[in-house]
């Protein structure tokens, strides 16, 4: 098995980073929706059980990694669009900040990130979950970005 893998890795530069395998493709097709759901569960349910935005974000990012490994990173990159990814990360940070500042605005007049200032039912719980969701967005898109960046390598360098 290690010989076959070694061969794959050695020939990877000739064929691009995409080595087609029906077993991996079928497995990913079956597993990906469940892993994605689990990631979302960790993000939304982190307030009441173990988990949270960071863990959920990483699990969602692994779905992207799986898709990239099974169906090729270049098709995935075209599907996601690297520019969109940068926008999503920035939006995640912006949304986190926005929630923080929203509690300071005139109708609420609370401190930064003081969810209780909102004053609606379960405000703190929903505030925490929203924040967790945006942490998840930041983490998931950053990891996907790292994946793309490492795959692309430094421009102009040769794969010796």
């Amino acid at each position: 098995m290690s010989d076959a893998e070694a061969e794959n890795l050695d020939t990877v530069d000739d064929r691009g980073s995409y080595v087609e395998s029906p077993i991996i493709m079928a497995t990913v097709r079956v597993v990906a929706p469940f892993v994605f759901t689990y990631g979302l569960y960790l993000m939304f349910h982190g307030a009441d059980s173990s988990g949270g935005g960071f863990q959920g974000g990483v699990v969602v990012a692994t779905v992207m990694l799986m898709l990239g490994i099974a169906f090729g990173i270049d098709p995935l990159r075209e599907w996601v669009r690297p520019a969109t990814l940068v926008v999503i990360v920035s939006l995640g940070v912006g949304a986190f900040l926005a929630i923080g500042f929203a509690t300071m605005l005139p109708p609420f007049d609370g401190a930064f990130l003081e969810y209780l200032a909102f004053g609606f039912h379960h405000d703190s719980k929903y505030g925490i979950e929203a924040v967790e969701l945006f942490i998840g967005v930041i983490v998931a898109s950053t990891i996907t970005g790292l994946f793309f960046a490492i795959d692309a390598g430094k421009e102009g360098g040769d794969n010796e």
């Binding site: 173990s50 925490i128 924040v131």
Partner: protein, 176 residues
């Protein structure tokens, strides 16, 4: 059955395998196994949040990134399976472990109800008020996202900065 000792032996074994295996692919696989074992250690220590992070980041994402990296570089060829030991480095490592080991006696036992962390006023406040004030059942989440929300915002920005820093180093505008 006592699970700690076999687990500890497994962690040490995989750590050693990661260090001395000459084949990079083998070392990466050993490293992933090591991360998974460490995740189990966190579960044994009843820290499921940390265990989830270790399993997802250490055993999952890092492994994939390492595999991508060796696909872009060369692997050492040869008949030897194990790396030759570098004695000065080994000496420094043993010395460092010995120095760190002297602090082990100061640590409280696992689950000790009289340890300073448990009896601390701050911990007691969080445990007593997290459910009512933050409205969530996981006290860890309440501390992270509510009591120390500003701190967590900083952490999220650190992740963001890591991505931005990578783009700056690579001289790119997008993750292409």
């Amino acid at each position: 059955m006592n699970v700690e000792l076999p687990l500890l032996a497994f962690v040490l074994g995989t750590a050693l395998a990661t260090a001395v295996l000459r084949d990079v692919l083998g070392a990466i696989i050993a490293f992933a196994t090591y991360s998974l074992a460490i995740a189990v250690v966190w579960v044994v220590l009843q820290a499921p949040d940390v265990a989830l992070t270790e399993a997802a980041v250490g055993a999952g994402v890092t492994t994939v990134l390492f595999l991508l990296t060796i696909a872009k570089t060369v692997r050492p060829s040869g008949d030897r399976v194990l790396e030759r030991l570098h004695w000065p480095a080994l000496g420094v490592s043993v010395l460092l472990v010995a120095v760190l080991a002297t602090t082990l006696g100061a640590l409280p036992a696992v689950g000790d109800p009289n340890s300073t962390v448990i009896t601390s006023e701050v911990t007691q406040y969080y445990l007593a008020n997290a459910y009512e004030e933050a409205g969530v059942q996981n006290a860890v989440t309440a501390v992270l996202a509510s009591y120390r929300g500003f701190d967590t915002l900083g952490e999220a920005v650190v992740v963001y900065s890591a991505g931005v820093g990578l783009l700056v180093v690579l001289g790119r505008e997008v993750f292409a």
